[in-house]
């Protein structure tokens, strides 16, 4: 493999000492936020037996022996759901998660997440708590947050209905608005993601939290699906995505169906097969999985915005290019 480059400069941390101190304060503040709300801090293993099912996520595998493969978690979701099924009540975790190949100004393959689950919470209640935490951590006045429906904001920005438009119409709008899309070939969700991340989110107002909710059912991931769309939200500060939350699907059958769907996508895209997490399925079948809502917040991005920085390298001690 490549030897580390830049021997005389790359030993230094990317983050200034002031921003490392800010990070430490925000970690304490996060813990205080949940302590005040009586949410239990937990730790779950970074190593897992089953990888994440999501076809969009590439994981690091670890091979301690020729016949053994473990994965570094892409999020603590499966393990935390097993704790919920075991009766933990509301829980949170501050931990590292790993996603291979995700590298850029706003991505690092190893990153810090705050993930929490609130039993008995509706999506709306969790949206409120997520925004309260972000506002608490950002430490500067923000404009009043706005909640928009995925369908409405998409239609307002691009004049097309993301629920009813044909795949071809979505592709045509993408190519009309963005000549860089000329050679792209994508499936429906690919076009939705392209349009949303490059042409809808960048229009969100600066210095204001925008919460997007009610996603198309094909973008539900682990959310409960309702008539208005999937019970999922994303929180943005300006154009930058910070958090992704769900009113969680609770039935064993839902999870079996969605594991199957992700496996089908992986096959279609020639991605490595990932076996369903049998221990999570067993927890759903045999435990008491509570009605709950859960969310993951990208902690490094919050630190970045609180520091007034423009890229993660300014607030992480050593990003992947410095390890």
């Amino acid at each position: 493999m490549n030897a580390p480059a830049g021997g005389t400069t790359q030993w230094r941390p990317g983050a200034s000492l002031a921003d490392l101190r800010l990070r430490a304060r925000l970690l304490q503040q996060t813990r205080a936020f949940f302590a005040a709300r009586d949410v239990l801090e937990v730790e779950t293993p970074l190593l897992c037996h089953a990888g994440a099912a999501d076809a969009q996520l590439a994981q690091f595998d670890v091979r301690p022996a020729a016949d053994e493969t473990l994965y570094l978690q892409t999020s603590p979701e499966y393990a935390m759901k097993r704790l919920l099924a075991a009766g933990s009540g509301s829980i949170y975790q501050l931990c590292k998660a790993f996603r291979a190949h995700e590298k850029g100004a706003l991505h690092n393959p190893e990153f810090t997440l705050v993930e929490w689950y609130r039993t008995g919470f509706t999506l709306q209640e969790l949206i409120g708590e997520t925004c309260a935490l972000i506002e608490d951590l950002i430490r500067r006045p923000l404009l009043a947050m706005q909640i928009v429906r995925y369908q409405d904001v998409f239609r307002k920005t691009l004049d097309i209905d993301p629920f009813t438009a044909t795949d071809a119409a979505l592709a045509a709008v993408a190519r009309h608005h963005d000549e860089t899309a000329s050679a792209l070939s994508l499936d429906r969700d690919g076009w939705l993601d392209f349009l949303f991340s490059m042409h809808v989110a960048p229009c969100f107002p600066q210095d204001r939290l925008t919460v997007v909710r009610d996603y198309p059912p094909s973008q539900a991931v682990w959310a409960r699906i309702e008539e208005s769309g999937a019970a999922r939200f994303e929180a943005y500060l300006g154009p930058i995505e910070l958090a992704n939350g769900f009113e969680e699907a609770v039935s064993h059958a839902d999870y079996v169906a969605r594991f199957g769907e992700e496996q089908r996508k992986r096959r279609a895209r020639n991605l490595p097969a990932i076996a369903p997490d049998e221990r999570l399925l067993a927890a759903l079948a045999h435990g008491k999985f509570p009605e709950c809502a859960g969310v993951a917040l990208g902690f490094d991005r919050v630190v970045m915005l609180a520091a007034g920085a423009r890229c993660l390298d300014e607030v992480i001690s050593f990003t992947i290019d410095r390890i």
């Binding site: 999501d54 969009q56 190949h101 995700e102 590298k103 850029g104 100004a105 706003l106 991505h107 963005d178 000549e179 860089t180 899309a181 000329s182 050679a183 792209l184 070939s185 994508l186 969700d189 690919g190 939705l192 993601d193 392209f194 949303f196 991340s197 490059m198 973008q219 991931v221 994303e234 995505e241 992704n244 993951a296 990208g298």
Partner: protein
């Protein structure tokens, strides 16, 4: 044939786009937390110099372009091609008008140029940054005027026209910056 995945994209990487050799000059990774990842890339076409933007689906692969930069010495021009020689292997290569471009008006025998080769064929020619060239034609010099103010056009032995101070005469050798086309100073032969 080399192929690169978008995961290997970085500034300076040479790839083929629409069968033309290109260099990546900016690579932005865009990914919604739960969705499809993209690489939004600014690319310079090495044949035309034009810069375009393209979006790739992350994980897609593109063909690499066999593009290398080598130092070669300019030998002569036969009216159609400019011939260059590697000072190490003595191998000679012809470069056509498109490849030589603006460099044609700066280079003379033995100039050490940076040649960009694509599949072994010259794609572009970069003259040395500074050249000492003889003035072939200019209005007569004004004796005693060393102020450098004003100036006049002078045609150099290689064909370039630059503005020079009034005291410069035909036959003088001057140092010029080939990047900006500016006169720097008088030079010794």
């Amino acid at each position: 044939m080399t192929t690169y995945s978008t995961n290997e994209f970085k500034n300076g990487l040479k790839i083929l786009l629409d069968s033309d050799p290109c260099a990546i000059i900016e690579n932005e990774f865009v990914k919604p937390g739960k969705g499809q990842a993209f690489n939004r890339v600014r690319i310079r076409n090495l044949k035309t110099g034009r810069v375009v933007e393209r979006t790739f689906k992350s994980g897609d692969t593109v063909e690499g372009a066999d593009v290398v930069d080598v130092e070669m010495q300019y030998l002569y021009n036969d009216g159609e091609f400019w011939y260059f020689m590697s000072p190490e292997t003595f191998e000679q290569l012809p470069a056509d008008k498109n490849a030589v471009g603006e460099a044609a008006k700066w280079i003379k025998e033995q100039s050490l140029c940076l040649i960009t080769l694509w599949n072994g064929v010259p794609l572009s020619v970069e003259p040395p940054n500074m050249m000492n060239l003889k003035v072939a034609e200019t209005d007569p010099g004004v004796r005693g005027d060393t102020s450098g103010g004003g100036g006049k056009p002078a045609t150099l032995e290689t064909g370039a026209v630059v503005r020079v101070p009034l005291f410069i005469n035909i036959g003088d050798t001057i140092k010029v910056n080939t990047q900006t086309g500016e006169y720097i100073s008088r030079a010794k032969e």
